[in-house]
């Protein structure tokens, strides 16, 4: 006899995948934080362990992302826009990617952070990681909003979170400028190639904060109608 009832019309929710991806991205930024601490202390053994972890998490995030995309045929009728959701997931995927890029360049060159700017460097990267965590928090909130069926107050609450996210991103910007200014004064004492890559890492850290901010904006777009 039949195993099909009309309940077959209920497709698997894409939100569980979204939360899963966020969880993995969060772990990756956590590992990045430990990586940078270790790299700053030139503890390359711990750093390479963290690096391994980040690479694994980045792969995992890719799988989840692909899984979400593959399970979102155009024939789905969803409580949120399909395009908004895909944009969000693909942007979110930039977070573990950035963690992988940053740790990749640093470990590949066994990059010694100039001791004059170690504190500024850690401040700057922590602000970027904080932004990523804030974005994760906002995504975590979607779970409850979806349970409540989305409302205008949800959009307001989310907008507030995003305002905070913008502040953190601005903070990161300021740290970055300070870091660049400081380093500019004695960059000539260092090997030019090292300096070039050091600036590259600073750029990548800045983009981690930028991506986190974009995630926040996309999230508001996703939830509001």
């Amino acid at each position: 006899m039949s195993t099909d009832t009309f309940l077959g019309m209920l497709a698997e929710s894409p939100f569980s995948g979204l939360q899963e991806h966020m969880g993995v991205g969060n772990k990756a930024t956590e590992a990045l934080e430990r990586f940078i601490q270790a790299a700053a202390a030139s503890d390359w053994k711990t750093a390479s362990e963290c690096r391994e972890e980040i690479v694994g998490l980045e792969n995992q995030a890719d799988d989840i992302k692909n899984n979400i995309r593959n399970n979102l045929p155009k024939s789905l009728f969803m409580s949120v826009s399909r395009q908004d959701l895909l944009d969000l997931v693909f942007t979110m995927d930039g977070i573990p990617n950035a963690a992988k890029d940053i740790s990749g360049v640093m470990i590949g060159r066994k990059m010694e952070i100039p001791k004059e700017i170690i504190k500024s460097f850690i401040d700057c990267s922590n602000a970027a990681i904080k932004a990523a965590n804030q974005a994760s928090d906002a995504i975590r909130k979607v779970d409850g909003m979806q349970k409540r069926g989305f409302s205008s107050s949800d959009v307001a609450a989310l907008s507030e979170l995003v305002t905070k996210l913008e502040q953190i991103e601005k903070e990161n910007d300021e740290f970055e400028i300070a870091l660049r200014n400081k380093f500019f004064k004695f960059e000539k004492e260092y090997d030019p190639v090292d300096v070039m890559f050091f600036y590259d890492v600073i750029n990548k850290i800045g983009s981690l904060a930028d991506i986190s901010q974009t995630v926040g904006h996309l999230l508001v777009r996703l939830v509001s109608k």
């Binding site: 006899m1 039949s2 195993t3 099909d4 009832t5 009309f6 309940l7 077959g8 019309m9 209920l10 497709a11 698997e12 929710s13 894409p14 939100f15 045929p73 024939s75 789905l76 009728f77 969803m78 409580s79 949120v80 979806q146 349970k147 409540r148 069926g149 989305f150 409302s151 107050s153 949800d154 109608k225």
Partner: protein, 421 residues
Amino acid sequence: MEILIEYGYILLIIGCVCGFFMAWGIGANDVANAMGTSVGARALTLYQAVFVACVFEFAGAYLAGGEVTSTIRKEIIDASVINDTPQLLVYGMIASLLAAGIWLLIASYFGWPVSTTHSIIGAIVGFAAVGIGFDVVQWGKVGSIVASWIVSPVVAGTISFLLFTSVKRLILQTSDPFMSAKRYVPFYMFLAGFVVSMVTFLKGLKHVGLNFTASESTAWSLVFALIISLFGALILQRIDNTTKEKNGAMFDGVERIFAILMVFTACAMAFAHGSNDVANAIGPLAAIVSVVQSGGEIASKSVLPPWILLIGASGIVIGLGTLGYRVMMTVGTAITELTPSRGFAAELAAAGTVVIASGTGLPISTTHTLVGAVLGVGLARGIDAINLNVVGKIILSWIVTLPVGAGLSILFFFALKGAFG
């Protein structure tokens, strides 16, 4: 006429067997759709669902199944045209039951979601238009039935949209959803109780010998609904605000309250399904019985004998007990994407629509009404993702069912005509 006197009892027995077969098919397959929402949302266990279905399908069929039965029995075919050859009506109704029953069986085997209502209406219109004559069919009535198939999912969808929107405003989006749920959920129980008892009082109790005026019915329904909601509120007292496991899914306090509500709406749904779908089996049977028993007089004014309703009601329950529970079991093990706060809105909207259709004598499809209701909740942003491909398939099987039911019944009609003359 002679044919009916000679073979009357044989035809009657064949009719009863076919009617029972059809009712069995409805119980085996269709009930799983009606109860699936509750089982899928984990508000009821399989055995609770079977129990609720047995009691309320039976009650719905027996108490409120009369109007739709009479539509199928005598309003689709203009019997006055065939006064000279009443046996044709008997052959045709048997053929329709066989056609719809077999089609239901085939479709169930392949897992196609078909509607029992559409197959029986297609079958009756088919044998009448082709086997007897185009003019025998009351096309105006058929037109209004077909229109109701389009209207009913839309109405159910609109109601479920409004229900879920009210749930969002009154409960889910308040600062303390748990307390709000305790306060407002009894109102939804009241609503479920009112609709069901209103239809029962207005339409159902005539053949039990009780007649109520509209105002008496309203008063009694209000009383019943009040008792039901007070009873419900009493049960809700025992729910605390913790997350607990229920039938294999984790529910927080709010959803556990809605799960209780869903037990009520499941009863309403089973009642509604019984009241509308039993007619698919016993409407044709009632027509056969009235022709045979009156010795060939078609335009009989006699009321529906209660024992016919009993055949239909017990057929559904036995179908449920022998095969229907298995279909429900597969629903129960599927992943839950419909939580009680959503499921109840869909179920209550569909049950209300179906039971009102039963009261007005319109044979509509419970499954399609439910599909409309689920889409309504989706429009209120209550459901994460609905697969429109599957919805399209359901609509397609709805369209395909009509010519198939018609074709099969034409086939059986000519076979019976050849056999009995």
